[in-house]
Amino acid sequence: MQLPWLQQASYQRRFVILSQDVNKSAREVDHQFWWFALSGLLLLGAMITGFMIGPAGPTWWRIPLELLNRLPLISVDSGVSASDWNIVWQIRAPRVVLAVIVGSTLSISGASYQGVFRNPLIDPYLLGVAAGAGLGATAVFSFRDSPTSTWIIDPLPLVAFLGAVIAVMITYFIGTAFNEGRSSVSLVLAGVAVTSLATAIQTFILQRNNDVIRQVYSWILGRLSSATWGDVRLVLPYVVASTVVLLLHRRLLDVMRVGDDEALALGVNVRRVRLVVVLAATLGTASVVAVSGLIGFVGIIVPHAVRLLAGASYRRVLPLSVLLGAAFLVAADIPSRVLANPAETPIGVVTAFFGAPFFLLLLRTRQTSQ
């Protein structure tokens, strides 16, 4: 697929990118440590706050004391009863940990997708992950005979995961089958087509089984409220594998910012890098979508916020996206569980409602300062 205007624009951009990097790199290395320290502290702060605030359970200031008490060799009298601690540990803690996992995975996947496709508008759901998982979830809600039937394993995350992976595989094989050269644009277009197809099938199934619309709708909005330690254990291996693979590709993604041909000339196997990064990012995204539904906004906004703050090099964008994406989702989950108490506010609503103004502010201040 040839799109001359797109090629022209990207030629103009890649020289700007290169010259920016040369000018900035010396200054940014000094700042690098502080960005990591600050992001780490933000994440830690968000997690401790996340442990402390909720609609029930012990008084908030007792919880850090009890957390200290639980550490080896330290004994503090926190005055937290066993049943109160149970609420914190069994209900709140898995939520916080799952928010860390989901937030970091969506952010690093989004950043990686944006890197391999050199397209700032891409989010981790683009290649069909969202629609495939949504179709899988809809099928489970519609066709399992009874919501309380005793399955050996819960089919919902499994089928959602399979739906996501199958959708991306179809996208990948169609998008790369017919043209060797410009596979990045045709991949994105194939993703759009597969998304439309899967969404159409999902809508058709839903229309014929409208008694489950409410369940499917709340799944699509995404939630951390149903988090259990089982969910955390279920996704952790995939998410860790995906994050490690993506972090290992951070330098190659930097090279690919200049364009496929130039990266090839520099000895990078562009096709293989793109395949591995897409597979790893899809694995991570599909896993977290399977347990938390479609939490929007995180995967596109966090990487851009990181770029605005710390520069565009993937050596910083990827690890900082992990830390800040996690911190952002943990923080967003707090209003989600207390705003509409005793009901829940969907997490996707909170991420967009608080995240969008913050991002606009950031965009505005960074533009005026440059």
Binding site: I91, P147, N210, T228, D231, A343
Partner: protein, 307 residues
Amino acid sequence: MRKLSLVGVAGLFLFSLSACSSSSETTDTTVAVETASYPVTVGDLTLESQPMRIVSLSPSATEMLYAIGAGAQVVAVDDYSNYPAEAAALGTMLSGFEPNVEAIAGFTPDLVVIAYDPSNLVEQLNALSIPVFIASAAVSIDNVYEQIEQFGVLTGHAAESLQLSSQLQTDIEAAVAGITLPAEPLSYYHELDNTLFSVTSNTFIGQVYALFGLRNIADNVEAGNDYPQLSAEVIVSADPDLIFLADTKCCNETAETVAARDGWGLLKAVTNNHIVELDDDVASRWGPRVIDFVVAIRDAIALVTAG
């Protein structure tokens, strides 16, 4: 005539349905009246002692709990549990669709009743050692009697629940027996909302109509879908004898708004004014008020056969 023999006829006139759904009766009932022996087991669930702090996230279950005299044991309900008035007065506004587990646990319940598990709710509550009873949506009228009796066993009101279920059964049978049905079965259309979603005879709602031998125009419209969305063309060409509106509260539909719809003005049900405005809640819950639904259908048929 299931279960009728268990209670004896004496209970029937002592315990009229109007009394059981009235608010004064349930609050008078002290919990210690019955000496139920625990542990009790219903299905997979075993309760070691009488639950005194019940949280209900199902409007139908809430109505049953209050109707069998277990209302004093209910501490919190969901935001759809608007009946009876004492349940609504709890003002606890929990959500059964987007449940906040911490908020539920904050009531320190010793029994949580739900209609379905939206996602991991049972697992999360069990992690806090809170027992959960799932009273799934009824698929038949017998399910209603059965669930009322299950709640009786669980809450220590077994005798009252048996009285209620057999009274309900008697009243429903009396309502059905008290009317002469026309030789040719009447056809009907049950409207769930103003985008023309309906129900088939396979649903609980459809089975209530089937008691009177009514013919559902939504049957066989769409194979395999018990809640089909009908097109206006299907409804107009079927020209049902009766139209039941179960969307008077959700969507403010009335006999007038239906008559004003394009192309509906010449329908039999519209010209003869055989449009029945139901209470959305009564016509969708599988609780003790199902008798009100049955009576509304009977009265509508009486209107058609008289005219």
